[in-house]
């Protein structure tokens, strides 16, 4: 696969402190961080590839496998936990047919859990792409995904 990151690099000068923002922009553009991108980023900032991996694997935001068209993030924050997030996650897994951390083969959905999305007063909640679904329960989950399929 030919990966072009020139449009990302054009906004940076290649300093070490720019690694995280570059990784963020590259992921935004490519939807994940393939090996080729990591190699190019390492070269651009003149840092060993292993160091770029060390940074990228440290932060929860970065992914090394492609995401689905719709990215589902189930919140497991405290308020969500107390209000039944575990059951919600079970139902989402059941509906999508994948487990936490996986992407469906048809590339329609990928599923992740997050520590907190900050909508605690409407717990339990989940995020589908950039939209927050609030006060969800098993029934609501089933409804949301049956519309999508």
């Amino acid at each position: 696969m030919q990966i072009d990151l020139e449009s990302v690099f054009s906004g940076y000068s290649g300093k070490r402190e720019e690694i995280i923002p570059i990784l963020q922009d590259a992921q935004e553009k490519l939807n994940y961080l393939p090996k080729e991108a990591m190699r190019k980023i390492a070269k651009f900032v003149r840092v060993p590839e292993s160091s770029v991996y060390a940074i990228a694997t440290f932060y929860a935001q970065f992914r090394f496998k492609p995401m689905g068209k719709n990215h589902v993030m189930v919140c497991r924050g405290t308020a969500c936990h107390v209000n039944g997030a575990t059951r919600v996650l079970e139902e989402v897994e059941e509906q999508l047919g994948i487990s936490e951390g996986e992407t469906r083969e048809d590339m329609e959905y990928s599923l992740e859990t997050v520590a907190c999305i900050g909508a605690c007063s409407l717990a339990p909640c989940m995020m589908i792409n950039k939209d927050v679904e609030a006060k969800i329960n098993k029934k609501k989950v089933a409804k949301i995904f049956s519309q999508g399929n």
């Binding site: 402190e17 990784l23 932060y59 929860a60 924050g77 308020a79 900050g118 605690c120 909640c125």
Partner: protein
């Protein structure tokens, strides 16, 4: 530039006054993340459709979060002949009914209203700000959230915005630090260190370059006060940062904000541009000779970056791992230069202190904890949302007066403060005041102000396990006590909730807690055992029930409960039988159903589908099958 700002302030104040004195209809809609999650953008569409098709001239203002998140989406309507009325849970379906009543029939609807907005009374409507949820609050940092349009600098200015900055420039950096000292302000992000003292260190150090960092990487699960402030009143933070930068002698400020807050980031970028345009950022700000610029860094999702030295490492482009202190960042921080890290709310307080004075600030609160604190009130509580109360308010008042108590007639069990670093406070200690020192004395911390309420259905062992799971995942791995200690504690807690606990485990948990607290490098490890320590202290009997009786009294831990169909109540409708994914239920039409415990996976499906009128299925603590 000063002239330009003064002219804009003058103009903004006139425009704001005109907005509400004109006969035009004004509609406020809360569109912070919480409002949007509840459907506020659809509500706005519906409002526009209605007003357009009925030829009603109106101005819709998107405002931030006023904190009544339980009633989102919130809509406030000001029409020509009536004072503002606030409506709650206005989904798109209700819009037509409410607008028709209010704007066409001139008859505000009591049924969906929460009360009037402002001081004017309307027969039959409560005054919203006199309702318990708002009456006990003192709204300062949040005063403009939900009132102004956060995308308009003019709105911020019309409420006295940037007056604090003007005052700061008049009195000079030393006096600014003195004012903050006199106010008694303590850091609002965690440990409660006096803000002025940090500043003084940095101010006194001799360096060609100093940095100010605003920590907006709100990582505590259960806390969202910074998000609400950034989304609802972003200029309050910028003003505080400029004042702080001026006091420190720093020319560059960073805002380290989580990438999970897209709306807050958008608002920050916009506000910075607005401030630059009017000369509030850049060189020679308001002819003071002071230069200051603000850059935004997006956090990439690591809780440990709330720790100062880890946050600095992250900005420098490394793994966010802490380093031993001293040297403290105020002496040697970002790129080796003196650096101050302040929380969003602390900096917003600075704007207010410089505007209204130190004395005003310390009018409320306690002697050692002055001012107010924004608190995210969540969990099993009626009025979930964001509140701001004077420090020193008791937990009891917070939960039962402001929060409205526990929903669904359940019993209160505990309240947890301070996120994963905090502890649980039981019923007996509910008279504990919410201030830094009192919370410490009962084994918990203020943290960033997250308060999670638990009722009788929350299992305290499972809750402790939840936090340890979080700490174990978020441990950066640098020091052994934290990396391996949290893992060991988590393993033991997993055993206990799975019915494999041994009585010696309690002592082992206590020993591990002490080791991790004293041996860890940074705050994450040093506080990670707090949830376990406090639950062991106040809810030891729940641990014993799990270990000795193999029962989960709160009916949460799957391995320590079983489902049972009451033969007296079961009518044999086959609903549960058909829904059981494990085929564990036997019976027939009008024949009592029975659960085979050996096949039951405790998914709870039968419990959920049993028709409420029949309600034949019970969860019983203790496993009916022997746990091997």
């Amino acid at each position: 530039m000063q002239v330009k700002l003064d002219a804009l302030i003058e103009k903004s104040k006139i425009e704001w006054a005109n907005l509400y004195s004109s006969k035009k209809t004004v509609i406020l809609v809360g569109t912070a993340t919480c409002g949007r999650s509840a459907g506020a953008l659809d509500t706005i569409n519906a409002i526009e459709n209605f007003t357009n098709s009925n030829g009603i001239e109106c101005e819709i203002i998107e405002v931030g979060c006023i904190g009544l998140c339980y009633a989102e989406p919130l809509v406030v309507i000001y029409s020509e002949d009536k004072p503002g009325v606030c409506y709650g849970e206005v989904d798109e379906k209700k819009v037509k009914t409410i607008l028709k009543a209010h704007l066409i029939d001139h008859n505000p609807m009591q049924k969906y209203s929460l009360g009037t907005f402002g001081d004017e009374k309307v027969e039959g409507f409560p005054v919203l700000f006199n309702e318990p949820v708002l009456k006990y609050q003192v709204r300062r940092a949040l005063a403009k959230c939900g009132i102004i349009d956060p995308t308009k600098l003019e709105h911020y200015l019309s409420f006295g915005g940037y007056e604090g900055l003007k005052n700061a420039f008049e009195i000079g950096p030393e006096k600014v630090i003195e004012t903050v000292k006199d106010s008694g302000l303590r850091g609002r992000g965690g440990a409660g260190f006096p803000t002025w003292r940090k500043w003084q260190f940095c101010h006194d150090s001799d360096s060609d370059q100093k940095y100010l960092i605003c920590n907006a990487d709100e990582g505590d699960p259960g806390a969202f006060m910074n998000r609400a402030l950034l989304e609802g009143d972003p200029h309050a933070l910028l003003e505080g940062m400029i004042i702080s930068g001026y006091a420190l002698g720093a020319s560059t400020g960073y805002i380290y904000c989580r990438a999970e807050y897209p709306l807050a980031l958008e608002r920050l970028h916009l506000s910075i541009e607005q401030a630059k345009d009017i000369g509030l950022l850049g060189s020679n700000i308001l002819d003071s000779g002071f230069d200051f610029n603000i850059k935004i860094k997006e956090g990439a999702g690591a809780f440990v970056c709330g720790e100062e030295t880890a946050l600095i490492a992250s900005i420098e482009g490394y793994r966010g791992m802490p380093r031993p202190r001293p040297p403290f960042p105020a002496v040697k921080g970002l790129w080796g230069k003196p650096t101050i890290i302040n929380n969003v709310e602390s900096l917003a307080c600075v704007s207010l202190i410089l505007k209204n004075g130190a004395e005003w600030f310390s009018e409320v609160g306690t002697e050692s904890s002055t001012g107010t604190k924004t608190i995210a009130l969540v969990g099993k509580i009626k009025n979930t949302g964001l509140v701001e109360v004077p420090l020193g308010t008791t937990l009891e008042d917070l939960v039962f007066k402001v929060g409205g108590g526990i929903p669904n007639g359940k019993k209160f069990k505990a309240v947890q403060t301070g996120g994963p670093s905090g502890g649980c406070v039981p019923l007996e200690l509910l008279n504990t005041p919410v201030d830094y020192d009192s919370l410490n004395s009962v084994g918990t911390i203020m943290g960033s102000g997250g308060v999670v309420v638990m009722d009788e259905d929350t299992c305290m062992v499972d809750f402790a396990r939840f936090f340890l799971d979080f700490a174990e995942k978020e441990s950066c791995g640098k020091c052994v006590p934290c990396r391996l200690g949290t893992k060991q504690m988590l393993d033991i807690l997993e055993d206990i909730v799975n019915g494999k606990g041994k009585i010696e485990d309690i002592k082992l948990l206590e020993d591990l807690s002490e080791g991790i607290i004293s041996g860890s490098l940074c705050g994450l490890g040093q506080t990670a055992p707090n949830p376990v320590k406090t639950t062991l202290k106040y809810f030891r009997e729940e641990y014993e029930a799990h270990i000795i009786d193999k029962k989960c009294p709160s009916k949460v831990c799957k391995e320590l409960i079983h489902y049972w169909i009451d033969p007296e109540l079961c009518v044999g409708c086959r609903v549960c039988l058909g829904s059981c994914p494990g085929g564990a239920i036997t019976g027939d039409v009008k024949v009592v159903h029975v659960i085979n415990d050996n096949l039951c996976t405790k998914c709870g499906m039968c419990y959920e589908v049993c028709p409420p009128k029949i309600d034949a299925i019970e969860i019983i603590p203790g496993s009916s099958v022997r746990v091997v």
